[in-house]
């Protein structure tokens, strides 16, 4: 454990100091980093079953290979983050197989079923972009050396996922007809879902250990702006309707709907006309987790038994 106090360590990392091992951390730093890495690892892990369900609808063998490559990347990224957690004294075994479904910390978006190819490609276009937004910020600003280095490979691979999303969104919208409608329907629920993922607005944000310990650089609202700065022009170019626009007077992107607002998971639908709801009720929905949470966690537990059996037979 670090001989420094929390305040001394905070000042030191803001001066550019890079932490390399758990011995240099205060307990506060370690805890904040554990939370950050757990969210990161769980997000990568839970994207895999969500994407896998949708990859079954791939239009050809070749496109399914691409989708499976993305899923394989996500599992590898999850492994990297869980491996880093082991250095901090956590158990990968417990984190992956020992927790109850509601104890996972991935965003609510990955508790939703992805029902068709259009939903998969919008997920790689929107959700993976949110991943890049968050992780590039961590890569640039984090004071934890091992994570900074690990994110180089992760960033490159995530860019391929983003490319996959963009190219396929373009192909499907250009095809027109039902294909375009399917993309629009996916965008309708996934656009607000991704913006919600970035969390509380800055004026409501409780004190953030992650900023104090320099585990990230940008605030929630800034990250939301970064995501919209590339997503909104993409959708505009493809002629997709989105509830956000650029405001030249304030030089920022603005959401055109009550934020946050109510979501019905079974209908995959946001209720803009009901007006703004409280963040407390959003937290309640997140905490209760979404429709696929238990099914996805159960799938991992089952696979553990199968893998042990294969290894035992070898």
């Amino acid at each position: 454990m670090s001989p420094l106090t929390d305040e001394e360590l905070k000042a030191k990392v803001h001066d550019g100091y890079i932490v390399e091992s758990v011995e240099e951390m205060t307990e506060g730093y370690r805890k904040s980093l554990v939370v950050q890495l757990t969210v990161q690892a769980d997000t990568e892990l839970m994207s895999a079953p969500a994407y896998w369900m949708a990859a079954r609808h791939a239009p050809s063998a070749n496109t399914q290979v691409s989708a499976h490559a993305i899923i394989q990347d996500e599992l590898a990224h999850a492994n990297i983050a869980y491996r880093l957690l082991e250095d901090l004294g956590e158990s990968k075994e417990h984190l992956v197989y020992g927790r109850e479904p509601h104890e996972f910390k991935h965003p609510y978006g990955f508790d939703q079923p992805l029902d068709n190819w259009a939903e998969l490609v919008v997920a790689t276009g929107f959700f993976d972009r949110a991943g890049i937004t968050l992780l590039s910020d961590v890569h640039e600003h984090t004071s934890y050396g091992p994570l900074k280095r690990a994110l180089i490979k992760i960033g490159m691979e995530e860019n391929f996922h983003l490319r996959h999303g963009e190219v396929w969104m373009k192909r499907l919208t250009e095809a027109g007809g039902e294909a375009r409608e399917m993309v629009q329907r996916a965008v309708d629920w996934m656009f607000p879902m991704t913006l919600e993922w970035f969390g509380l607005p800055d004026d409501r944000k409780r004190h953030s250990g992650q900023l104090d310990y320099k585990l990230k650089g940008l605030s929630n609202d800034q990250l939301r702006q970064v995501w919209m700065a590339s997503t909104v022009p993409l959708c505009e170019r493809l002629g997709l309707n989105i509830p956000a626009h650029y405001d030249s007077a304030t030089e920022r992107y603005v959401q055109d709907y009550p934020f946050p607002c109510r979501y019905d998971a079974l209908e995959k639908r946001w209720f803009f006309d009901e007006g703004e709801i409280t963040w407390e009720s959003v937290f309640e929905r997140w905490k209760a987790r979404g429709p696929m949470n238990e099914i996805y966690v159960e799938a991992f537990r089952r696979s553990r038994g199968q893998v042990s059996k294969w290894l035992g037979a070898a």
């Binding site: 993305i70 490159m156 490319r163 963009e166 190219v167 702006q225 970064v226 700065a229 590339s230 022009p233």
Partner: protein
């Protein structure tokens, strides 16, 4: 496909800089097409291919050693291309990027990509420049 991240929209510097990382495939790095046909079209085609980046690693398909041969005359560019693996998930994107970049040139009317699997691609095919770039990116090459 180049995503116009910034268009003419003004954004705070910190937002614009972070959003620039979202441009995938490196198309923002493509230079403008030549104004007039080059004297050596094959050589010019090699040069243009040098701007087409691998979808995952920011080095070009030439530096990665994917291009086995180029011939270009009378506006027809023929490319002998391999991939790092037969189940490479990026094949589609690489073919598309090569075609799109070459077709930007006024002196190229047609792009023919011939896939070649022999000899198979190995790490040894990465050029010295490619290796140096990878080393700087923190990617080890055996």
């Amino acid at each position: 496909m180049k995503v116009p991240v910034l268009n003419s929209r003004r954004l705070p510097d910190v937002i614009a800089a972070a959003a620039a990382a979202h441009v995938s495939g490196g198309r923002d790095l493509w230079t403008d097409p030549l104004l007039s046909p080059p004297s050596d079209q094959t050589e010019a085609t090699w040069k243009v291919l040098g701007e087409v980046l691998d979808p995952e690693i920011p080095i070009s398909v030439v530096e990665l050693g994917l291009v086995y041969g180029v011939a270009c005359s009378v506006g027809i560019a023929e490319i002998e291309l391999t991939f790092t693996a037969t189940a490479c998930p990026c094949m589609d994107f690489i073919r598309e990027d090569i075609r799109d970049r070459l077709m930007q040139e006024s002196w190229i009317d047609e792009v023919e990509i011939h896939e070649v699997w022999s000899p198979p691609w190995t790490n040894d095919r990465i050029t010295d420049e490619g290796r140096e770039k990878l080393r700087r990116l923190g990617v080890g090459v055996g």
